[in-house]
């Protein structure tokens, strides 16, 4: 609504060169499969992700987006190159990173609050000191009245919001999101995008967001990494210079359209989007 100068976002990165939270050099991942030998999922990725940034990764199905996310989460070992998280070589899951998966992955036998506190239990952190922040976060996403309900009593959008709260409750620096809204209907998805931007603005996390929706990537991000088809490598990294805070109406602007056209042509050069 309130138009901000187009330079508002770039100021963050230009004033002081923010330290890279993630630094990947020559990152590659090769799967050994039983049937088709070796499959190269990621090939020679070089990129940085800076503190507080919102970066999306777009690409065709099967281009290795999800593999990249799992590597960054420390869930999958990479086979060549290097990844540094906060200056340290990445060797498995850390407490600085939290993951939001494609499906909410809420445990059906636990209430929403107990689901949200699950990472605290796993990390053996003092439960009492996190109860408060869990309630506050649930309040922030409008789930306060559902804290004692079970996941099956919630809609799909509400479940995914609970999953986001579960990721935030550990207060990570880096939030990795793997197509978190892919299963939601278009209307809910737009709402969730707006809400995610609000959460991001309030919590100042660094977000890596995997999606196959070009519009979603542009709408949310400071930068968009476009991936090539398999073997997945970086086709181009595009700076999204749109004012923040963003409203849905930004989708109808010319600049948004040009970014979308640019990304679409990049992905179509890989043999079509779908």
């Amino acid at each position: 609504m309130q138009p901000m100068p187009a330079t508002a976002t770039s100021v963050q990165t230009e004033v002081a060169p923010a330290p890279a939270l993630i630094r990947a050099r020559g990152l590659s991942k090769v799967y050994a499969t039983a049937t088709s030998g070796e499959v190269v999922a990621l090939k020679n990725l070089d990129f940085e992700i800076y503190d507080g940034e919102f970066v999306s990764v777009v690409g065709q199905s099967g281009c290795g987006k999800s593999t990249l996310l799992k590597v960054l989460a420390g869930l999958l070992p990479y086979t060549a190159g290097s990844v540094e998280l906060n200056g340290r070589v990445l060797r498995g899951p850390t407490s600085e990173t939290a993951v939001v998966f494609q499906s909410p992955v809420l445990l059906p036998w636990r209430t929403v609050l107990d689901n949200v506190l699950l990472p605290i239990e796993f990390r053996k952190l003092p439960m009492a000191s996190y109860r408060r922040s869990a309630s506050d976060l649930l309040e922030m996403v409008g789930l306060r009245d559902f804290a004692q309900r079970y996941p099956f009593e919630l809609s799909g959008g509400m479940q995914q919001r609970a999953a986001i709260v579960r990721a935030l409750v550990q207060d990570p620096r880096l939030l990795l999101m793997d197509e978190p809204f892919g299963a939601l209907d278009a209307m809910t998805r737009e709402q969730m995008n707006l809400e995610l931007l609000r959460i991001w603005r309030q919590s100042r996390k660094t977000v890596v967001f995997i999606t196959h929706s070009i519009a979603e990537a542009i709408f949310l991000s400071d930068r968009v990494i476009a991936m090539t088809a398999r073997p997945g490598s970086i086709a181009e990294i595009i700076n999204i210079d749109l004012p923040r805070p963003r409203e849905l109406s930004v989708i109808n602007t010319d600049r948004f359209g040009r970014y979308a056209a640019r990304l679409r042509s990049l992905l179509e050069a890989q043999g079509g989007l779908f």
Binding site: G92, F101, P108, F152
Partner: protein, 288 residues
């Protein structure tokens, strides 16, 4: 205006589908209305076959005779060895003990064999081999090993109930959503937490499916154990009445066994609803 419009559409659809507007009691509560009706029809058929069509009493006893035998057997005191309560208690105790031991071992071993794949794969052929063995064939051996007492019946019941629980637990372990495990790993969960907070609860719907099967089989185990040699129990009574050609009390015992099996299964269902309430509603596949 709007209310009128809604009324019109409702009348239209119900007329088109030619359904009664009020929900009918047979549709809503078939287990309270249709099920008893089926029982009445079956009893009537039985009565007709024996009393009117004259089926011989040594083949099928008359329903009133079976009912009489049942009342007579159940009117005795629970400690009276001539009554049914005492023998029911013996059989139920054997079945419960065997069920508890067999299913506890089945669940624990199923979990262990799944969690350590090397152990699981090396034991698998033996498990399959032993499972294809008709376990009741072991019953005569029980008399040799344990004599006529409780132990042999508990042993055979434990073996019979062990396998469905083992197999279902292993299936449950296989069916744990990989995302749940990834979630735990992304939070640096310990192996113990992964097992107790993710895998074991995820297996519960499968475990209960196995327990349901095992609860019914446990009565079979106890009765077969009693067939081959026992001093008490409904299975022993069955053999006695069979030898003396007392068909009516024989039928009464069979009915009792059915009731006990049903109640065991029902009890498992109650526990399942208490501890696994989330499975049916979350759409997890509870029955396989």
């Amino acid at each position: 205006m709007t209310i009128q419009a809604i009324d019109i559409t409702r009348v239209d659809t119900s007329a088109a589908a030619s359904l009664p507007v009020r929900p009918n009691i047979f549709r809503r509560y078939p287990q309270l209305t249709v099920s008893p009706a089926i029982l009445v029809v079956l009893l009537a058929g039985w009565w007709l076959a024996t009393n009117v069509l004259g089926a011989p009493a040594y083949v099928i006893p008359r329903p009133q005779e079976v009912f009489q035998a049942l009342v007579q057997g159940l009117s005795r005191a629970p400690w009276d060895k001539a009554g049914y309560w005492y023998h029911s208690g013996v059989t139920l105790w054997e079945a419960l003990l065997g069920f508890a031991i067999g299913s506890a071992l089945g669940a624990m071993l199923g979990l262990a064999l799944s969690h350590w794949p090397i152990a699981g794969k090396s034991w698998y052929p033996y498990i399959v081999g032993f499972q294809s063995l008709p376990k009741v064939a072991l019953a005569p051996l029980m008399v040799v090993w344990f004599g006529f007492g409780l132990e042999g019946k508990v042993f055979i019941t434990a073996i019979i109930t062990f396998f469905p629980v083992l197999v279902n637990t292993m299936a449950g372990y296989q069916a744990v959503e990989p995302e749940r495990i990834e979630l735990a790993r992304s939070c640096n969960a310990s192996e113990w937490h992964l097992l107790t907070k993710i895998i074991m609860p995820s297996c519960l719907p499968f475990l209960f499916a196995g327990l349901g099967v095992a609860s019914v089989l446990s009565i079979l185990g106890a009765v077969v154990g009693e067939f081959v040699g026992a001093r008490a129990g409904l299975g022993m009574l069955l053999m006695q009445f069979n030898q003396s050609m007392e068909i009516a009390p024989l039928f009464a015992i069979i009915l009792l066994l059915g009731v006990i099996g049903f109640l065991m299964n029902y009890a498992v269902g109650l526990v399942e609803r208490r501890y696994c309430f989330w499975a049916q509603r979350a759409g997890a596949s509870a029955r396989i």
